[in-house]
């Protein structure tokens, strides 16, 4: 980081103005049940801020974006964290692009189970609703050809997954000890990973094929001296994702095959999204979503919540000036029929700059359901500038 600062200062700021945007907000979690463990609390408030600096030169063929992020939590010191979401120099040539620095990449098509997406680590301790990711150091060469886009990634440096600390909720017992993570590779978090992806659109069909070789993003949690320690293994993963967009039907499918030193397995997830446009002659749209997930490791793998599950969801978009939206989702385990979760998310804009989000999550009582006591409501207010 220190090495990069002089670079930023030296950039030709005269070419075009620096664009400054960002957001800041406050969010409160209120839990329905009393805490299970003495360190925990009944409610939890946090403040967050993200800055987005953008500068381009060379007729926009070169650009630099810097996006630092911070969250301060009232109780959980593990949730109080800062991250460089992005610090990326992008150079665009006629048929290739080079992205160098820290960035974020999304692969895949599914709503519930993002199997193929592997470049960035989950920022699991952050806001559950936006699928937050930690910034990943990368050099990404993107070749744009008539037969598709090929992305080559060199990923120097690995980010460990974040987890709620002892004072936090939505965690197993004991809390996961992120200070003592172990690695299969001797290079530990300095292991250099590689990835490759081809993607293309054929009329109504969008396809992607990907390969990843390096430190797996999902750790195996190991019990050691009464602690839960994440262990990161070296993996190889092949991924495939496809979407067919046929009128009001979106058909989605993702599959992976992953191999590490101990096992190999396959997993797949697919389904549809069907949209009723102009519900009851109004301007609102109602989407029906259904996705089924399967994983051949079954329930043996502790973190594998999508081994034989179905997600059903409804998304109501009012298409009004305030962008009011409502999303209701349910995940049902088909092996352990007592295990399910429900989620309701509502959002709307106030004025030009303020967005209000209300979320409710409910987890069923079931031996396999870790979060049964952590049903909660979350209210977030974000100011964008």
């Amino acid at each position: 980081m220190k090495k990069l600062l002089p670079l930023i200062v030296c950039l030709p700021l005269s070419a075009s103005a620096l664009e400054i945007n960002g957001n800041l907000g406050i969010s409160s979690l209120i839990y329905q049940h009393a805490p299970q463990y003495s360190e925990q609390h009944r409610s939890q408030t946090s403040a967050f801020a993200e800055l987005d600096l953008y500068h381009s030169w060379n007729d926009e063929r070169d650009s630099l974006r810097f996006k630092p992020y911070v969250r301060l939590d009232q109780h959980d010191s593990a949730r109080t964290h800062a991250d460089i979401r992005e610090l990326l120099w992008i150079h665009v040539a006629d048929d290739w692009e080079l992205r160098t620095g820290i960035g974020k990449v999304f692969w895949g098509v599914n709503e519930a189970n993002h199997l193929v997406d592997i470049i960035n680590q989950d920022d699991l301790v952050d806001d559950m609703s936006d699928d937050p990711k930690l910034g990943q150091p990368m050099i990404n060469l993107s070749l744009v050809r008539d037969w598709g886009t090929v992305d080559l990634f060199v990923l120097p440096g690995f980010r460990e997954r974040t987890y709620a600390g002892e004072q936090g909720r939505l965690r197993p017992n004991p809390a996961i000890d992120t200070d003592n993570a172990s690695f299969e590779s001797h290079a530990k978090e300095k292991h250099v990973d590689f990835a490759l992806r081809w993607s293309h659109s054929f009329d109504e069909y969008d396809l992607g094929l990907s390969y990843f070789n390096g430190t797996g993003r999902d750790p195996r949690l190991q019990q050691k001296n009464g602690k839960l320690i994440p262990h990161y293994e070296q993996i190889q993963q092949l991924g495939f994702d496809a979407q067919a967009t046929l009128d009001e039907w979106l058909w989605k499918f993702e599959a992976i095959y992953r191999k590490d030193a101990q096992e190999s397995f396959a997993a797949a997830s697919g389904g549809f999204e069907y949209t009723f446009v102009g519900l009851f002659d109004s301007s609102a749209d109602l989407g029906w979503l259904m996705e089924y997930s399967w994983d051949d490791r079954g329930t043996a793998q502790q973190q594998n919540i999508f081994q034989n599950d179905v997600m059903i969801g409804w998304r109501l978009a009012m298409n009004d000036a305030e962008s009011s939206e409502l999303l209701l989702g349910m995940v049902q385990d088909l092996d352990d029929t007592d295990s399910r979760s429900l989620q309701l998310e509502a959002s709307r804009r106030f004025g030009d700059n303020i967005k209000l989000n209300l979320e409710w999550r409910w987890f069923s009582d079931s031996p396999s359901q870790l979060l049964a006591e952590d049903d909660h409501v979350q209210l977030s207010l974000t100011y964008y500038y």
């Binding site: 659109s201 949209t275 030009d352």
Partner: protein
Amino acid sequence: MLKSSLTLFSLVGLLYVPLSHAATPEEQGLAIATEQKARDTGWGNSQVELVMTLRNKAGKESVRNIRLKNLEIDGDGDKSMSIFDRPRDVKGTAFLSFSHPLGNDDQWLYLPALKRVKRISSKNKSGPFMGSEFAYEDLSSFEVEKYSYKALGEEACGKLTCYKLESLPQYKHSGYTKMVSWIDTEAYRVHKTEFYDRKGSLLKTLSFSNYQQYLDKFWRADKSEMINHQTGKSTRLDWNNYQFNTGLTEKDFNKNALKRAR
């Protein structure tokens, strides 16, 4: 070559357009639409800044700022990229569309917070664009094949004379049964369009004003306003800083370009 064939097109149009008695209203209508398209062919590519002001029944306004890049495609619908600047929570959101005269359009939406490009259904043609009174289909490129036509005679429009033209959408999923447009006989500029809903009732009126000519040929309205007669809401569009020949090519209209749009 392009220019001479355009001139030829215009001549053919002129031959038709004094609405010869032999032609049926349908043939006359098609001739007007063909000439309208011919006069707006050959602009290549353009960029423009759009201020969209939404107004509800009570008069409360909210503003969207969008930048648009357009690329004319020979023998197909245009390609366009819309980049949202305001409201701030959607800043950086970008929308890529390959329109096709009769088939479904190809559309992708880029969500900057998730860094995710989503292919979206183009069945939403009749749905509102950004909560405005404009439907997606109102903003897509004009192609002759999209409609069947009927000339409804001529009427005065301001100081000019306008053809009154009925257009019936021939593509799937339109929210309209018909549209009636007033197109001036001098330069084939649309001055007003009425939209009729699926029940055949008058739904919206779109009016254009402050036409400017670019590249000595192409007319673009600086202002347009859509009034919804059924809800009392309206949306005003102010088009600023039109630029042509900006060097845009097909490479500026792919998913990679969408991801770094700003």
